[in-house]
């Protein structure tokens, strides 16, 4: 007997979600098709390769799953904040800073078996600290978390980029940092694909978070604060404490994502110029969370869907000859249309709570 609204009662909601996503995808595809056509390319062939690259064969599926690995976590970071009534968009920066942490660990002279531990410890530590900056500003001075996390994202970007080019660069290949030592890497799951074992960590974290949110007093307090500040105050729940917990947890999730992308994804195992292997992992997590209705379980299919979109985009570029910029535009359009219903819901519930 579980206490929250039963999954059975959510069938309707799930069906509704799926049709909502389907409709948004169609609209997104429609708009992008016009754009692709206007650019002088064939929309049919573009979308054929998009789908084929995402789920059309095993290789595509593995690639999609590998992209979903960090998105599950950054999605979770956003979802947990929303549950606590916070609009925390800091996962982007926390991913960078966690990746930097992993590289710092790699730069140390350690016994080989300690690298993995050190990478996670330093990376996550930095990310949690980064997230707590915003948290402390919020509960201590009332600084809006949207503003502070955006600023912290930029600071994280330049700190990481500077460290990459001036401190941790690889003398043999200065466009990237030193690489993670082999003993410090996560094992690959399927040979010759990018799917690495981190996906299990992501899945476990998602499920544990689900349990925390709905089966423990800690999660109860997080949800209570998010649903009704006045009732949670009445219930003796300490708002500042809960808010800090939420910031710390979302920093933890984004931190794991940033570390894993650096130490798990072949073939680079480093941070590259302009952080291109990390950029947007945090922001796409917001879309994932919104599609998954800010529910940890919903985030799993949502992240695979967005992961597929990313995998397919590459194949669209390669096989349909659509230039990178246009591929990115298409991706952006679809992601934006997909996120829209969730954003509207979020704003509505904020207004209703007034």
């Amino acid at each position: 007997m579980s206490l929250q609204l039963k999954l059975g009662e959510r069938y309707k909601e799930i069906l509704f979600s799926i049709s909502e996503v389907a409709l948004a995808t169609l609209i997104g595809i429609g708009i992008s098709a016009i754009l692709i056509k206007a650019g002088g390319y064939s929309p049919t062939s573009a979308f054929f390769y998009l789908f084929k690259g995402a789920f059309g064969n095993l290789y595509g599926l593995y690639t999609s799953l590998s992209y979903s690995t960090p998105l599950m976590l950054t999605g979770l970071a956003f979802a947990l904040s929303v549950r606590a009534g916070l609009f925390n968009i800091g996962a982007e920066g926390q991913v960078y800073i966690a990746a930097l942490g992993a590289i710092i660990a790699a730069s140390l002279a350690l016994p080989s078996y300690l690298y993995l531990l050190a990478e996670f410890a330093i990376g996550i530590g930095l990310a949690v600290m980064w997230s707590l900056f915003a948290g402390i500003l919020k509960v201590w001075k009332g600084v809006n978390e949207v503003v502070s996390t955006i600023m912290l994202n930029w600071i994280a970007y330049w700190v990481t980029e500077y460290s990459r080019s001036n401190i941790f660069y690889d003398p043999l290949s200065p466009d990237r940092t030193i690489r993670i030592p082999i003993t410090g890497r996560l094992p690959i799951l399927v040979e010759n694909t990018q799917l690495y074992s981190g996906i299990f960590i992501s899945l476990i974290v998602v499920i544990v978070t689900y349990v925390i949110l709905w089966k423990t007093a800690l999660g109860y307090e997080i949800r209570a604060v998010g649903l009704s500040p006045s009732a949670s105050k009445y219930a003796g729940i300490k708002y500042s404490l809960v808010a800090l917990e939420a910031f710390a947890l979302s920093g933890l999730f984004a931190g794991i994502a940033g570390v894993m992308e650096t130490i798990g994804r072949p073939p680079t195992y480093a941070i590259v110029t302009s952080l291109t292997n990390l950029v947007n992992l945090g922001f796409n997590g917001i879309t994932v969370s919104l599609i998954g209705r800010n529910n940890p379980i919903g985030i799993i299919p949502a992240s695979i869907f967005i992961g597929g979109l990313m995998a397919g985009a590459t194949s669209m570029q390669i096989f349909a000859g659509v230039p990178l910029e246009m591929v990115q535009a298409v991706q952006g359009i679809i992601v934006m249309v997909l996120a829209l219903p969730g954003i509207i819901r979020l704003i509505k519930s904020k207004i209703r709570r007034r």
């Binding site: 206490l3 609204l5 307090e221 949800r223 009732a231 009445y234 003796g236």
Partner: protein
């Protein structure tokens, strides 16, 4: 009733089964005469709204006949009902908040609408004065209600259905509203007045029909009705409107408030130097017209609002501006005024709400703060049984419960804390007779068991009926504190209007 009276409405054997199988009405028959005010009385869920929506053509009956002015009718929609002069003001306001009163009155008129009297003339004749140019969101609920009535009358209604129109009105607004209704009656309008408040129905109606669980349980002229009789018809058993109260045996002080000053959200002073004490074994009542600082006073005592000056002592310990959690662990329970915003989290389930504030109690937890769901289930099921909470399942969101059942969840939860002092703010507001009686009896039982109750209510009868001592608050100050037995309702009423106890001749 003189026999020559013209029958306006006759409903015969009306039944209604909702699509989900709820039998809301079971062969209800009802006769309403032209020019009368007819009361329909019943507890929440008795079927009053359903019956009226059928009369208004809003929903279709499953069976039965309706005659209006002698002619049998069958409405396709409420448009048909409006055409033959039936108008309804719904329980929940249906005006557009951002439109002005005037815009709302004109809104949705059919294109071929021909006015029988101009709006100006209508206002003059009925005496319903409303600020036509003001937006609905800026006016009081009493005024909005009048706008709704004007809107209905303007469409040519001869028969007016008012579904619980007084729910959100203050005492003053109700008084004024009733004089408007009497005016309309004089003009020959037929009014159907729906309520679950005995006093109002007795006050304003000519005839009363009582519904209970979808059936007519009684029908009688108001002149022959007594409150006891009506309550019995509504609830189906003997109800003790006047609770038996043994003499109080007050003991030690449990709560002491000293010169407390509290601000409103806008920074103005809500409470200006209030002092009093509550003792074990007594109910201390705070009466007053709403908005005179009583809410802020209670919030300050219970740790929900900062006290700017003054002190609060609980069981001898200084707890001024203490955290609510500390007060709870010391034996305080609080039934807050606003159950929907403060007492409950509407989007959480009934089970989750049943542990709000006690969710960290060891009984409900396993190691690592994991909930012991069996224990929580036992707890919520005990509350449901003991307090007769009507709920489909314990996982249903609190939002899906009726107002009365929501309040029972709050009250049940707070009593389950076995407190030494319970602070109850408007504990029975909006509740039907049965639930009200039950909650009042619980408060009395607390006191009889030697515990303390601080009761804040704007219902004079409630405060006078329950309290051993009563204070009246007016503009943030106490007008006086007195033994309830040595002060009359009239004197309390005068203090609520701002007269100090000394000024009206009580020492």
């Amino acid at each position: 009733m003189p026999p020559e009276k013209e029958v306006a409405i006759e409903m015969v054997n009306i039944s209604k089964v909702y699509p989900d199988g709820v039998l809301a009405l079971d062969k209800v028959s009802l006769t309403i005469y032209k020019g009368e005010i007819h009361g329909i009385l019943g507890e929440n869920g008795a079927g009053k709204t359903t019956l009226m929506r059928i009369l208004y053509g809003n929903i279709k009956p499953t069976g039965g006949k309706i005659k209006v002015f002698g002619k049998e009718v069958s409405f396709g929609s409420s448009k048909d009902a409006i055409k033959i002069g039936i108008g309804m003001v719904h329980q929940h306001p249906s005006l557009v908040p951002v439109f002005t009163a005037l815009e709302n009155i004109y809104l949705g008129l059919p294109s071929n609408f021909k006015e029988q009297v101009s709006l100006k003339e209508l206002i003059e004749r009925t005496g319903i004065k409303v600020p036509l140019e003001e937006r609905i969101e800026d006016v009081s609920l009493g005024i909005a209600q009048k706008v709704e009535i004007l809107k209905v009358l303007y469409r040519g209604a001869e028969i007016l259905i008012l579904d619980e129109p007084t729910t959100n009105m203050t005492v003053e607004e109700v008084k004024e509203f009733f004089s408007t209704l009497r005016n309309l009656k004089k003009m020959g309008k037929t009014i159907i007045f729906i309520s679950h408040k005995l006093k109002e129905v007795l006050d304003i109606t000519d005839n009363i029909t009582v519904l209970r669980r979808g059936k007519v349980s009684g029908s009688l002229p108001t002149s022959q009705a007594t409150p006891e009789e009506l309550a019995k018809l509504m609830v189906g058993r003997e109800v003790f409107l006047k609770l038996e109260k043994q003499g109080s045996r007050p003991g030690e002080k449990i709560l002491r408030v000293e010169d407390l000053w509290v601000k409103r959200n806008d920074g103005s002073w809500a409470v200006k130097g209030v002092s009093f004490e509550v003792r074990y074994g007594e109910i201390f009542g705070i009466a007053g017209v709403e908005g005179n600082g009583q809410s802020e006073l209670i919030e300050a005592i219970t740790g929900l609002r900062r006290a700017e000056r003054g002190k609060v002592f609980f069981k001898g310990e200084n707890v001024t501006n203490a955290h609510p959690l500390k007060l709870y662990t010391m034996g305080l329970a609080h039934i807050p005024e606003d159950r929907q915003k403060t007492g409950l989290i509407l989007d959480m389930s009934v089970a989750e709400n049943s542990i709000l504030g006690i969710h960290r109690k060891r009984d409900f937890l396993r190691p690592m703060m994991i909930f012991n769901e069996n224990k929580i289930k036992e707890h919520v099921e005990r509350l449901i049984q003991q307090y007769e909470i009507v709920v489909s399942k314990i996982n249903a969101p609190a939002r899906s419960l009726s107002g009365g059942n929501q309040q029972k969840v709050v009250v049940g939860r707070e009593f389950s804390k076995t407190p030494d002092l319970i602070i109850a703010s408007q504990p029975t507001r909006g509740l039907d007779v049965g639930a009200t009686e039950y909650i009042r009896s619980l408060l009395l039982k607390m006191r009889n068991n030697g515990k303390a109750v601080l009761l804040m209510s704007s219902d004079i009868d409630e405060v006078m009926g329950l309290s051993d001592r009563v204070a009246v608050i007016y503009e943030g100050e106490f007008m006086g504190i007195s033994e309830t037995s040595s002060v009359s309702e009239k004197e309390i009423g005068m203090m609520m209007g701002g007269y100090k106890m000394g000024e009206i001749g009580i020492k």
